[in-house]
């Protein structure tokens, strides 16, 4: 089990869509690496023969009739959007500049 390197943190940040400056990486890489080292303690039980728990209280799925119910209006749904047009969310171009 190895600590995270600065380049790993840069790659993970890119995957998580968080831009990082060199200063950000200077500040955060060491901290994140130290946390990874600390939580690696769980590896001591990784091979143990117990089942995994994903949800603390056992419960069954809830079903309902598939009928339309009151919901947000289009105007309400768009009310917090940074930009909207013609009743839709408006986003910047989705293809790269070089495309």
């Amino acid at each position: 089990m190895s600590s995270l390197e600065r380049t790993d943190v840069a790659r993970l940040a890119a995957l998580a869509r968080i831009d990082m400056t060199d200063q950000d990486l200077d500040r955060l890489s060491g901290q994140i690496s130290a946390i990874v080292d600390a939580v690696a303690k769980v590896a001591e039980v990784a091979d143990s023969d117990v089942s995994a728990t994903s949800h603390p209280i056992p419960m069954a799925n809830i079903h309902r009739e598939d009928v339309v119910r009151p919901s947000l209006t289009q105007e309400q749904a768009l009310s917090g959007a940074p930009a909207a047009e013609d009743g839709r969310f408006r986003v910047p171009q989705i293809l790269g500049e070089e495309a």
Partner: protein
């Protein structure tokens, strides 16, 4: 007896006393609400418990309650008693930020289920309280809007993430508030501010409209200054909700009756288990418990014994893995939950070329360091090649901890420990050391991993620094009522020794005009 014409006395009453006085016609909801708004105006510049105060809305609700009461309309039990909401609950028409700059200025188009229940209970909503950004933290220092200050000592942390909800109670700005507890965010702030906080059984309170941190751990719950007040609020917000797929389909436990029963002071036949690993001796996880914390814990145990309870020792050996498992499960789920802050549907947008570059720039600008750390950690823990090693192993730890609890609850009806290893530390003291910050939660995290209910209530002040210490009670899933019975019995025994509540001893805050 409270002088209901004196605003200084009004804000020091309990919610139960306020409800009784309203019903008896001794005070109006407008008087109560105005007294709290004035108090907020006088002290919140120094405390900063609130991110948003809704003067107009709170007074409008209060006036309508008074009018209905005057007309003889039957009203819910807490109608007219003011409350503050953690700014993690969405509120239609009121700003909701989750403590993050990425949501600055957002006005939700709908109410959380808990918000709706509070409106239906006719409780004036004073405002929204401060928190660590997206509830990630133990001090409120990770709020995007500046920290909250502990009313016991303004240079110290009020706990977190729900430091605003706890500080509002301790500063007499609100008699009740709502918190959310993912790893201790209700109980730890209660402990360090001398107040009461309850994390119900997972699923006991609907999370619809609560901005999610870690969905398999998050639970909303009541914050108050007394056990009975917490119980009254618990019954308002609890219960099944078809809008939350993890909501328990069961009646709300009879917590008010349990609190009233416990206050009589008889715990004959109740078995109380001291968790060896959390009692603060050096063999325990985290070690380093402050002497005054241990001393007050032992004194509280003596009180419970004197009330007739049987004290036993239990061992939960797998708790040594709890903190590590928690800091894998939480970041993993958070990294997924926070993906929705993508600059498209709500919140901040830093427009920079393509949508992908815009997302990266927006999340860089909108998220604080702690959120970035946890998203990156979660992204790592869930990534191919590491999943079994980290997330898979953490889920096995969860099973082992549930097994530890199951065995412990064979021997005891409730389990107890100090809530936090120390009294509140100074603002800034641990801000650059995430691992030191995480150790605050060593005693509270196991309950979240197992989904069981927990309470923190005041056990006194540490002799060495005069700051509050907390006593934690844990019960099996669905047995929330046991917390209230034992908690109310301890509260009554301590109040009788002290000649009043712990909050009576809180220092006076300087009032600004």
């Amino acid at each position: 007896m409270t002088d209901w014409n004196n605003p200084t006395e009004i804000v020091r009453a309990t919610a139960a006393q306020m409800a009784d006085a309203l019903a008896a016609g001794d005070v109006t909801s407008v008087q109560l609400t105005q007294a709290h708004l004035d108090r907020i105006g006088a002290v919140d510049g120094a405390v900063h418990a609130f991110l948003h105060v809704d003067t107009e809305g709170a007074l409008a609700t209060a006036a309508s309650v008074d009018a209905d009461r005057g007309a003889g309309t039957q009203l819910p039990p807490l109608a007219g008693v003011p409350i503050a909401l953690k700014d993690l609950l969405v509120t239609r028409g009121l700003p909701t930020t989750a403590g993050s700059k990425i949501l600055e200025g957002w006005i939700p188009p709908y109410d959380a289920t808990v918000t709706r229940k509070i409106r239906e209970a006719r409780m004036p909503i004073l405002g929204k309280t401060n928190l660590d950004e997206f509830a990630m933290g133990s001090s409120t220092e990770h709020s995007g809007y500046g920290p909250t200050h502990n009313p016991w000592d303004l240079e110290r942390i009020p706990g977190g993430s729900g430091g605003g909800s706890a500080a509002a109670l301790a500063a007499w700005e609100s008699p009740l508030s709502i918190g959310s507890d993912t790893g201790g965010s209700i109980r730890q702030p209660a402990s360090v501010t001398g107040t009461v906080g309850v994390k119900p059984t997972y699923g006991g309170v609907s999370r619809y409209g609560a901005i999610a941190l870690a969905s398999s751990l998050d639970q909303l719950g009541p914050c108050a200054r007394t056990v009975l007040d917490a119980a009254l609020l618990h019954e308002v917000i609890g219960g099944h909700d078809e809008m939350d797929a993890t909501s328990l389909n069961a009646p709300v436990p009879a917590v008010v009756a349990a609190a009233r029963e416990g206050a009589k002071g008889d715990l004959t036949g109740v078995r109380i288990g001291v968790v060896k690993e959390l009692r603060g001796d050096d063999s325990g996880e985290g070690g380093g418990y402050q002497p005054g914390v241990k001393q007050r814990f032992q004194e509280s145990l003596s009180k419970l014994k004197a009330a007739g309870a049987e004290i036993v020792e239990v061992s939960c050996p797998n708790f040594q893995y709890a903190l590590a498992a928690y800091y894998l499960i939480l970041p993993s789920e958070a990294s997924s939950n926070l993906a929705k802050f993508d600059s498209v549907r709500f919140g901040m947008r830093v427009e920079t070329g393509t949508v992908e570059r815009t997302m990266g720039a927006t999340r860089a600008e909108g998220f604080g360091d702690e959120v970035k750390r946890r998203i990156i950690l979660g992204t790592y823990a869930l990534s191919a090649g590491h999943y079994e090693e980290y997330y898979g192993a953490a889920q096995k730890v969860r099973t082992l901890i549930q097994q530890d609890f199951a065995a412990a609850f064979e021997q005891a009806d409730v389990l107890v420990s100090p809530t936090t290893p120390t009294t509140p530390f100074k603002l800034g003291e641990r801000i650059d050391d995430p691992l030191a910050m995480y150790l605050n939660d060593v005693a509270t995290i196991p309950a979240n991993l197992a989904g069981i209910p927990g309470m923190s209530l005041p056990s006194g002040v540490a002799p060495e620094d005069g700051l509050p210490t907390g006593f934690q009670i844990l019960a099996p899933a669905h047995e929330d009522a046991r917390l209230y019975r034992v908690g109310a019995a301890l509260e009554a025994a301590l109040a009788s020794e002290w000649g009043g509540s712990l909050m009576d001893r809180a220092p006076e805050l300087e009032v600004s005009k």
